[in-house]
């Protein structure tokens, strides 16, 4: 595990940072938010990768739990970032989702249907449904955590 963290782990953090910052530019987020939103994305993707390595279970369960926890991390981090930079949360949590979100799977569903592999398409469709649902629930939980934190720090 320590070896994994030092090699693949650091590599994945850098890759996710770059991908999130790049996607932020594509979505035209304000320039002063690009760097911070890259780090939020890196935190989310790193959480997912670590859980994916650690969890001893089938791929669907790994996807579900990994994405759920990663979405909570992204939600809480972007809440903090939004508070720190006085910007709406959406500027940090939308670009940060790009490594997690089921975009690749959704295109694979259609591609496999067209090329005549309905069974593979069905597998990917399952993943799309699981990931999208779990990320939405993760954001709801993160929202709840943010409100609790706000309540206790300002009570």
């Amino acid at each position: 595990m320590a070896h994994w963290l030092l090699t693949t782990g650091i590599m994945q953090i850098i890759l996710a940072y770059l991908a999130t910052a790049g996607f932020g530019v594509l979505l035209n987020i304000p320039r002063r938010a690009v760097n911070l939103s890259g780090w939020v994305g890196a935190a989310g993707w790193f959480t997912y990768e670590v859980l994916y390595q650690l969890l001893p279970s089938t791929i669907d369960v790994k996807l579900a739990i990994g994405n759920l926890v990663a979405a909570i991390v992204i939600g809480v981090c972007s809440g903090l970032a939004a508070h720190y930079k006085h910007m709406p949360m959406i500027i940090f949590n939308i670009p940060s989702l790009v490594p997690l979100v089921p975009g690749g799977q959704s295109y694979r569903v259609v591609r496999n249907l067209v090329t005549g592999h309905p069974d593979i398409a069905y597998q990917y469709l399952t993943q799309v449904v699981i990931i999208a649902g779990v990320i939405a629930i993760g954001f709801l939980i993160a929202e709840f955590i943010n409100r609790l934190a706000w309540h206790f720090t300002h009570a």
Binding site: M11, Q12, L15, A16, L18, A19, A21, G22, F23, G24, V25, L26, L27, N28, I29, P30, R31, A33, W45, H86, M87, P88, I90, I91, I94, P95, L97, V98, P99, V101, P102, G103, G104, S106, Y107, R108, V109, V110, R111, L113, V114, T115, V128, A132, G133, I135, A136, I137, F139, L140
Partner: protein, 251 residues
């Protein structure tokens, strides 16, 4: 102009900018409520759908509608509307100034130049290809950069001129497929992973965020707008999947 009329138009414009540039329905409703509240109309009713917004004042029996035809992603505009709405809440700008500034946001907002966007598409494609698949041979890297940039450039320009999102996504994906196919023949498939390249290169185009937003909108109780977003996302996925599939028959 009457204050109530100006209030309704300003609220509608703020809501329309948010909705056209990627905010969730709950956020749009919340912002519009706040604006109406701060303008002194706490009983204003707001009704937001994905394709249109209504504001009404039950007391005076007045209401206004605004249709939303195009939806994209421009988070700079979302941020600026948010900043203006906060300034309005703290009374540092008044309603007419707020309306003027909103018009400015809608028409002139800083965007990244096209060259930056293409470089960003390259970065997103290549980094996600490596992160997802672990393949990074020189042939993979070169083809993925070219396909990522080309696909996004086609998507961007067709979108600019034709304003049909599904057509531009289809053509962008088709170019990605063609470039990958050319690479496949040039390298004779040695140290070359066509599937990895495609999954990286389509990442700037795929509707992943749209699918997630569809679920989020549905979960917050917007039972019409959520599924409508899902249909939009499914059409995008179909356009991209078809574009790639048309070239994948030749492998």
């Amino acid at each position: 102009m009457e204050t109530s009329n100006l209030m309704m138009q300003t609220t509608l414009l703020a809501g329309a900018i948010l909705l056209e540039n990627g905010a969730e329905i709950a956020r749009v409703e919340d912002t519009m409520h706040r604006i109406a509240n701060n303008a002194g109309y706490p009983d204003a009713q707001v009704f937001v759908l994905l394709t249109g917004i209504t504001v009404s004042l039950p007391e005076s029996g007045a209401s206004q509608v605004r249709a939303i035809h195009q939806r994209g992603m421009d988070l700079e505009k979302v941020d600026q509307v948010n900043t203006l709405s906060r300034a309005f809440a703290t009374k540092s700008i008044d309603l007419p100034t707020f309306a003027d500034k909103l018009h400015q946001v809608n028409h002139a907002v800083p965007t990244f130049p096209f060259s930056w966007l293409v470089v960003a598409a390259l970065v997103v494609s290549v980094t996600l290809m490596i992160a997802f698949t672990g393949h990074a041979t020189p042939a993979d890297l070169i083809t993925c950069s070219l396909a990522g940039m080309g696909g996004f450039a086609v998507f961007y320009w067709v979108n600019r001129f034709a304003q049909i999102r599904f057509l531009s996504e289809f053509l962008g994906a088709l170019l990605i497929g063609l470039l990958t196919l050319i690479g496949f023949y040039l390298t004779h498939n040695t140290a070359y992973h066509a599937d990895a390249i495609i999954i990286g290169a389509v990442m700037p185009l795929v509707p992943g965020v749209a699918i997630t937003n569809a679920v989020r909108d549905t979960m917050t109780g917007n039972l019409l707008s959520g599924p409508a977003r899902a249909i939009e996302a499914i059409l995008s996925a179909c356009a991209i999947g078809l574009g790639i599939a048309l070239t994948s028959f030749f492998y």
